[in-house]
Amino acid sequence: MNLSASRISHNYGPLPVLADVSLTVASGEVVAVVGPSGCGKSTLLRILGGLERPDAGAVATEGEPPARSLNPITYVFQDFALLPWRTVAGNVALPLEEHSLPTAERDAIIRDALARTGLSDFAKAWPRQLSGGMKQRVGIARALAVRPAILLMDEPLSALDGQTRELLMDDLVALHAAGDLSTVYVTHNLDEAVRLADRILVLSRRPGRIRAEVRLETPRAERRPADPALAAQARELWDLIREDAAEADRELVA
């Protein structure tokens, strides 16, 4: 399933946040969206999944979602968005409860999602007992449980410390190894973008427009954290957004 946004513009009151942004995510492709803070990256992501209505432009999917997909367009949130009154397994079960699945099948889906994220031993734990990294693994497990065709990730690693981020990055690379999951990955961290993406869209500062598009040729599985080629790529991106970032830093927050 493809996802394409055409000519998206959006304002918050008098403040324009997105101006004429178009993008297409092909089936199985990982697209990172980077840009200085406040450039409308997260707004764009919310618009892509229908959580916000753009002032102009439209978002559409092309092609049928996989037959067994329960929620074709699925989010992973920066703040995890776990229900604190449900256990790990309960949080993963939440979206499944909307569908009339046989109990055995539902349990199997939950077990599988927890196993894929290394959470099998924590099924009965409460979110407050988990570290940030484990909480985001629950967020990812919940997303996997509904078998998405398109994953929309909003700064999924930004609330985590550096070491945890590195560990989860490996998990995300593994998640995309099968190649059937399209992803839009919003981040301000350029290292994450060059590790994970097939294509990187660089947004300008507010109002966000697409300033540049960078295609990464090295296969994802062959990229290593300290790879000088990746570091060079990240530096190039930084040169692109450096001035914007400095300007954005001096803007008053709306």
Partner: protein, 267 residues
């Protein structure tokens, strides 16, 4: 100077006291025991007039006599029925209306306007009106208590719904949960601690209104008993009734606390 004197050591003083008092249940119980003991001592030493302020022993004896004769049970049953009935009606309606105010634009502003206008009325002032509408019997008392517990419950409920993290609601929407599922699985559990603290306030208001209503027009009930005892200068029975009300309040607060701990074990 041939010797280099070691520089004088100044210990860094501790300045981390953050006013975090600890809970000591035993100390709490002891305070109550000490209060009663002091009262008894004051009576035994003749500092208190036995007619105006009977000793704890006399109050306890009066209570025991009323319990043996079955009089106490009768009054208590009448009071509990009114309290539970009125509170159940008021709290249920209050949670429902508070949810509507918290969730729907259509209800919000009109609802808040009406609640703000009616909340400050001392509900006991409406008892004569309720007697006209529902008669001198149980109806007017239930209505007063229900009305009195309704408003604090509404205010607490919509405040608690407003405070529910909208990023959780957004998550629910993004996973395709129905509105009803979002209310049931996200909004209500998230608002629960706030709703329960509203119910605590509502329950103590209910006890105040119960006693006032029973003093204005009832033959049975703890409030009526206290009033009758006062008219006959039976101050031991009067204070016995007051003790029953105190225990009743403590019991309800304890019950709500227990429910709260059960339902918010995840915290």
């Amino acid at each position: 100077m041939s010797e280099t004197a070691a520089p004088e050591a100044h210990p860094v003083p501790y300045r981390g006291d953050l006013f975090l008092p600890r809970t000591r249940r035993l100390a709490g119980a002891l305070a109550l025991v000490a209060l009663i003991a002091f009262w008894q001592a004051a009576s035994s030493l003749g500092w208190l007039d036995p007619v105006m302020a009977p000793s704890p022993r006399e109050v306890f004896a009066a209570l025991l006599a009323m319990a043996k004769s079955g009089e106490l049970a009768g009054h208590l049953a009448a009071s509990l029925g009114r309290l539970l009935g009125g509170f159940a009606i008021g709290a249920t309606a209050g949670v429902g209306f508070g949810l509507a105010v918290g969730l729907f634009s259509l209800v919000r502003s009109p609802g808040i306007a009406v609640v703000s206008a009616l909340f400050p009325i001392p509900k006991i002032a409406l008892l004569p009106l309720f007697i006209l509408w529902f008669g001198i019997g149980e109806g007017s008392k239930l209505a007063t208590i229900a009305f009195g517990s309704f408003f604090p419950t509404v205010v607490a409920t919509y405040g608690a719904v407003d405070a529910v993290d909208r990023s959780l609601v957004r998550m629910g929407r993004s996973f395709g949960l129905s509105s009803w599922s979002i209310v049931r699985k996200i909004v209500l559990p998230g608002a629960l601690p706030g709703i329960l603290s509203g119910l605590r306030i509502a329950s103590s208001i209910s006890i105040v209104l119960l006693v006032a209503a029973e003093m204005i027009g009832a033959n049975r009930g703890v409030g009526a008993m206290v009033l009758a005892a006062g008219n006959l200068m039976q101050s031991d029975r009067l204070l016995g009734g007051v003790v029953v009300l105190s225990v009743l309040g403590l019991f309800i607060a304890g019950l709500l606390g227990w429910i709260e701990r059960r339902l918010t074990a995840w915290r």
